[in-house]
């Protein structure tokens, strides 16, 4: 069942001089979903996010915002009613955006007031966010004294202070260590669970895998694909990788016997036997049987399922090959 749209990007193109940053992009952001936008550096991710909320005007095409009043959708161009659009989303950019010399609470209160929140509502929102973001203990700490992860969380809190329907995160985990990244993703999940639509871009594709409902892939200013992570993986990477380590590791006897059994490639890489196949379950069984027959003692076996990285690589490689 299709969800209700929040943003409609229709045939949008954007250029800066001779440089075409986005070409004919069309995406619909659906209410309550987490949508990830991936692409190499310079592929147009940030430009797309900026166009989405009207920071930049498109050269061609339109970006519409859909507002629901008593369940009835009202569609308008994001450039026409910037104040309404601004109230509807929270944007956390790559660089945290708040006043370094104000405390955590002061920042939240200030930005809350910029959204015309009443004192009570503001206080309630700030308290909820401080708790949600794990910043309650640091609420009176000056922002510049926060750690990198806390700064990122404060930035998201600032973006969320007015309870927007859509949260846009541009590379929210850039420059963060894995632990901090996980914290952020956890928070994003929690925010989404509250019903907030999340639009994000990230380089850490595998982390988006479990988080995003849909992934949009941008390449060379074009939208290459948009779908759920699973469908993308299936679409672009049917081959899975089996890694086997055995003792004494005489794989030369096994390799010839596996050829032709719907195996894409087979090779020895160090002490491991690497098998790429579209039917991993069947091939694992066959390999294990052959190892047993060959007197090999199984030390380790891994199945590398395809991930978004693979999809990404595949997309980019495919394009290059086409070229």
């Amino acid at each position: 069942m299709a969800r209700a749209a929040v943003f409609e990007v229709k045939a949008v193109s954007k250029s800066f001089g001779d440089n075409h940053v986005l070409k004919n992009i069309s995406i619909t952001i659906e209410k309550g979903e987490v949508i990830g936008i991936i692409g190499s550096s310079g592929s147009g991710k940030t430009t797309l996010l900026n166009l989405l909320v009207g920071f930049l005007p498109p050269d061609r095409g339109t970006v519409n915002f859909v507002q629901y009043t008593k369940g009835q959708p009202q569609i308008f161009n994001v450039l026409k009613k910037p104040l309404i659009v601004n109230r509807s989303y929270g944007f956390a950019a790559q660089t945290p955006s708040f006043y370094e010399k104000l405390t955590v609470r002061e920042n939240l209160e200030y930005f809350g007031k910029m959204y015309d929140l009443g004192t009570k509502a503001l206080r309630a929102n700030v308290d909820i966010l401080l708790k949600l973001m794990g910043l309650k203990a640091s609420q009176y700490v000056t922002a510049r004294d926060l750690s990198g992860g806390m700064k990122r969380r404060l930035d998201i809190a600032c973006a969320m202070v007015h309870n927007p329907g859509v949260l846009i995160l541009d590379e929210p985990t850039a420059d963060l260590d894995p632990v901090l990244r996980n914290q952020i993703w956890e928070i994003v999940k929690r925010i989404n669970m509250r019903g907030t639509t999340v639009v994000l871009s990230s380089h850490h594709l595998n982390e988006l895998d479990t988080l995003c409902n849909r992934i949009a892939i941008l390449k060379d200013a074009e939208l290459v694909d948009i779908d759920t992570p699973d469908k993308l993986k299936l679409k672009y990477t049917k081959v899975q990788e089996i890694l086997i380590e055995s003792y004494p590791g005489s794989y030369e006897k096994i390799i010839p016997k596996l050829k032709g059994k719907n195996i894409t490639s087979i090779s020895q890489e160090g002490t491991y036997l690497t098998i790429r196949t579209q039917e991993p379950e069947r091939n694992i069984k066959e390999v294990l049987t052959l190892l047993e027959r060959g007197g090999e003692q199984l030390l380790d076996i891994k199945l590398n399922k395809p991930n978004l990285d693979d999809v990404f690589v595949k997309v980019y490689t495919k394009k290059r090959e086409e070229k």
Binding site: F16, G17, D18, N19, V21, S41, G42, S43, G44, K45, T46, T47, N50, V53, F55, L56, L83, I84, N86, R87, F91, A93, Q94, T95, P96, S97, F98, Y99, E100, N107, F111, M114, Y115, D116, C158, A159, H162
Partner: protein, 667 residues
């Protein structure tokens, strides 16, 4: 060698930032340029606006006004004194020349012309006073010359008259000499007449007649006495006849005998005396004849004298007439000299004197400069504080979030301004309070109007600072720009040099300098109790400027916001602003594909003359066209637009070598 590397790095950093490059390199140049332009070609005289008022515009007053006009002063005539002095207070007139009533040249008193001046224009007032005093000195000297010339003229006239009358005097002298001579001659004529008649005989006759008469009288008396005595004796004898009758009669007889003797004597003498009288009468008759003769001589002399007197009378009449003329002339000379004597030495030496009258009762230089200094402080504080605040806000990480909140940009601008406004207002009030106790200036005299001016000043300079803030990229650039702008506004103002001393165009433009307008308003409010209604169009001008500046702030803020989002896009950083290599469409030249200038040189080198002529046969030079349109080297294309293959190769070779050298130098 780390030092040069550091210096090179620093220079690159400075010059690759547009704002810093501009403010550091071009800022000072701009300031110098503006200031030089402002102070070059200044001519104080032509810029001064002089007001004039005279209760009666006499010929002398008109002459002086005309002379001032001719000297290049802009002179305006006012209907009354206060109108003129009010114009000084508003700065529209630099000084008022106030003529006295019945202003004319008077020999007996100096005329005092008053200059009303604004001493708060410290750097101009003395120039005005000197200039006008000099002008009046010239006028005064001219009048002195006139007066002296008049005196000399009168003296010359007197001298001429006296000289003329000397001749008259000499004539009179001659005439009088003549009269004198006539008189002498008359005297001589009369003197020659012998009027000496001897009257001795006559006297003698008279003596004798007198003697005779005396004798007769004596006889008479003696006779009478004798008779009376006889009578008395007789009467006594009657009474005393018995006693003494004999003696008395004897005595009486004696007396009568004596009387008779005497009478006889006299009678004896009388004929002799008559004879003598007859002699004497004869003598007298002789004498009378002589007298008659003499009278005849005298009549003759008298006639002569009469003639001479007639001549002398004529001469004397002429002399009298001349003397009347002489008297008239001398009276004229006397009057002229009297008039000259009536001249006052001071009124001749300085017929016009000037008196300086300040239009304000304040006399302290500090009081005069205080409004300028206060406005200077407000200007620099306003420029620096607001620009600093804007740069701080826009370069902070929070800028992005501010732009994306549901708050209009105008709100941010407005409240940034209000922040600056209240800080500046607080600072200004503190400065005023402190100054009130230390400067002892009438700062709070007209405080309501002063406060309005201060409000305008804070607003205007804050807005200017905000524009700088949005244009400048860094805090440093904003500071330098603010200081530069402040310096320019300061230099092109009345504080350093009077506007009137500047180039006329700059002077006119500078009169719109907000610092000039505001500092003048503040000064007039503090020193002259300026009312808002009297500010003329200046408040309107300020309001207009503020509105324009607000519009500019919104424009630059929007421009900055637009660029801000563009810059934030990594996509743009990666691609959009990277220069793209120009794709050159190859030139097909005699079966060769020429991709660049090196290819072209090689192909041309190997091309036969016949082939070359074939290439350029159509009238157009496709090689030059390709160099111009595809390679984009217009200069080279121009040099290669030739029908000579050798020249073309030479031009191309030269160009390539030059470019190679440049590249090597760069490396």
């Amino acid at each position: 060698m780390k030092g040069p590397a550091v210096i090179a790095k620093n220079l690159k950093l400075l010059f690759r930032s547009r704002e810093t490059a501009f403010t550091i390199v071009f800022g000072p140049l701009l300031i110098i340029l503006l200031v030089s332009a402002a102070y070059t070609g200044g001519d104080t005289d032509t810029q001064l606006h002089v007001g004039a008022y005279s209760p009666e515009y006499t010929a002398l007053a008109d002459d002086i006004i005309s002379a001032l006009n001719e000297k290049g002063y802009r002179v305006s005539v006012f209907a009354n004194e206060s109108m003129c002095t009010d114009m000084i207070k508003t700065g529209q007139v630099h000084t008022c020349v106030l003529f006295p009533s019945d202003f004319s040249i008077k020999e007996d008193e100096s005329q005092v012309v008053r200059f009303a001046v604004d001493y708060s224009r410290i750097n101009l007032v003395y120039e005005i006073i000197d200039g006008l005093s000099q002008e009046f000195q010239v006028q005064s000297t001219s009048i002195t010359e006139e007066l002296t010339s008049d005196v000399l003229q009168r003296l010359a006239l007197a001298q001429e008259e006296v000289h003329d009358q000397l001749a008259t005097g000499e004539g009179l002298e001659t005439k009088l000499d003549l009269v004198q001579s006539e008189m002498a001659e008359s005297r001589s004529s009369l003197g020659s007449v012998d009027v000496n008649v001897s009257f001795a005989d006559l006297k003698d006759i008279r003596g004798r007649v007198t003697g005779l008469s005396g004798m007769i009288t004596e006889i008479k008396a003696e006779s009478i006495d004798a008779i009376e005595a006889a009578e008395a004796t007789l009467r006594d004898a009657r009474s005393e006849v018995e006693n003494e009758t004999r003696d008395s009669v004897d005595d009486t007889m004696d007396l009568l005998e004596n009387a008779t003797a005497t009478i006889l004597d006299i009678a004896d003498d009388a004929p002799t005396a008559v004879t003598e009288v007859n002699y004497i009468i004869d003598d007298a008759a002789d004498a009378m004849e002589k007298v008659q003769e003499r009278f005849g001589q005298l009549v003759s002399a008298s006639e002569e004298v009469d003639d001479r007197l007639a001549t002398s009378k004529g001469e004397i009449d002429t002399a009298l007439s001349e003397l009347t003329t002489l008297r008239g002339k001398l009276q004229h000379v006397d009057r002229s000299l009297q008039e000259v004597l009536g001249f006052q030495a001071s009124s001749v030496a300085a017929p016009i004197t000037t008196r300086i009258e300040p239009v304000t009762s304040e006399d302290s230089n500090l009081t005069f400069t205080y409004p300028y200094v206060l406005m200077l402080v407000i200007m620099f504080l306003g420029l620096m504080l607001s620009s600093s605040l804007i740069v701080m806000d826009k370069t902070s990480n929070a800028a992005f979030r501010n732009f994306t909140t549901a708050t209009r940009d105008e709100y941010h601008i407005l409240f940034s301004f209000i922040t600056t406004f209240f800080i500046l207002l607080g600072q200004t009030l503190i400065i005023l309070l402190v100054s009130y106790f230390f400067v002892k200036a009438p700062l709070f005299n007209n405080f309501a109007v002063s406060l309005v001016v201060i409000f305008f000043a804070i607003t205007l300079f804050s807005f200017l600072g905000m524009i700088i803030g949005y244009v400048a990229g860094t805090q440093e650039a904003a500071m330098i720009s603010s200081l530069s702008l402040g310096s320019v506004l300061l230099f092109v103002s009345n504080l350093v040099l009077p506007l009137e001393a500047m180039n006329q165009v700059v002077s006119i433009l500078s009169s719109y300098n907000p610092y000039v307008v505001l500092s003048e308003l503040l000064k007039q409010s503090m020193l002259f109790n300026l009312r808002l209604v009297d500010t003329g169009g200046r408040i309107g001008l300020l309001v207009l400027t503020i509105l324009i500046l607000f519009g500019l702030i919104i424009a630059v803020q929007r421009s900055f916001k637009s660029k801000f989002f563009q810059r934030r896009s990594k996509d743009l950083a990666a691609n959009a602003f990277a220069p793209r290599a120009r794709k050159i469409k190859p030139l097909s030249l005699m079966h060769h594909e020429v991709k660049d200038l090196f290819d072209l040189l090689e192909v041309l080198d190997h091309m036969t003359r016949a082939d070359f002529e074939q290439v350029i046969a159509g009238g157009k030079n496709p090689i030059a066209a390709w160099v111009r349109l595809e390679v984009g080297e217009k200069g080279l294309a121009r040099r290669m637009d030739t029908r000579s293959k050798e020249r073309m190769i030479l031009a191309l070779d030269k160009y390539i070598k030059r470019r190679s050298k440049r590249l090597q130098k760069k490396k």
